[in-house]
Symmetry: C2
């Protein structure tokens, strides 16, 4: 594995996938949501109510997939959906109280898993890793 382990992208991908998987499994158990549902709730918690297309754009999700994601969240009553009075093509998606609670729970679960997976690192190193990965991520969009 020397060659592969010397390639940053390979290691990053492996760690990322493993972490994502672990988190997805935990989230499925505890608040009973998927990763995409969590991501959508997080965006709504950050930005407040938004249109579906805005959420899809922010998350890099196809609009058609966002529809199905919203269907799920609506069914579980984690978000509410109203027509935007200013532009009746758009929806105004907002967190319900239950959605906010679910998000808070989920965020705790994610943090817990992350603490576990990052346990080989000191607090300083964790901050470093996030900072470096963040820099690379920022460079991606261009």
């Amino acid at each position: 594995m020397e060659t592969l382990l010397g390639m940053t992208t390979f290691v990053l991908h492996k760690v990322g996938v493993a972490g994502r998987r672990e988190i997805a499994e935990r989230l499925a158990v505890r608040p009973g949501i998927t990763l995409w549902q969590f991501a959508a709730l997080a965006e709504l918690a950050d930005q407040g109510p938004a249109a579906q297309s805005a959420l899809a754009g922010g998350l890099g999700l196809d609009p058609s997939d966002m529809v199905r994601l919203m269907d799920e969240l609506l069914y579980d009553e984690l978000v509410s959906r109203e027509r935007d009075p200013d532009d009746r093509r758009r929806y105004r998606i907002a967190l319900t109280p239950a959605g906010r609670r679910t998000f808070t729970t989920a965020r705790g679960v994610v943090q817990k898993v992350e603490n576990a997976t990052l346990s080989p690192l000191t607090a300083t190193e964790r901050a470093q890793l996030l900072k470096l990965a963040g820099k690379v991520h920022a460079g991606l969009t261009r």
Copy 2:
């Protein structure tokens, strides 16, 4: 994205997937191989000839999938396949000269892409990132 960008796993996964994707596209063009083919060639280049099961184990690939991967590499004559005299159940998979050349080319392509994706980082930071990600990766297997 504040919440999501504050989660190391999320950023790592995003960067990893983007990098992997980019690399896969380039490898498909230039030496004309897939990521899994590259990984197998890399393992063979590192370790020398090996049995399929050993390769499958090392790469975390299902044995039955490894068969199909070997079929491809054999068809392109990048590896050779002989029965192991010591245990005739096993194959002895080895790089052909063409396989070695292809691997060298591919490794160059990967390095080039990585230099591009890691361009926001200084050399020191790149080393840091690889080291930290490596630590986390080492902790995963347990």
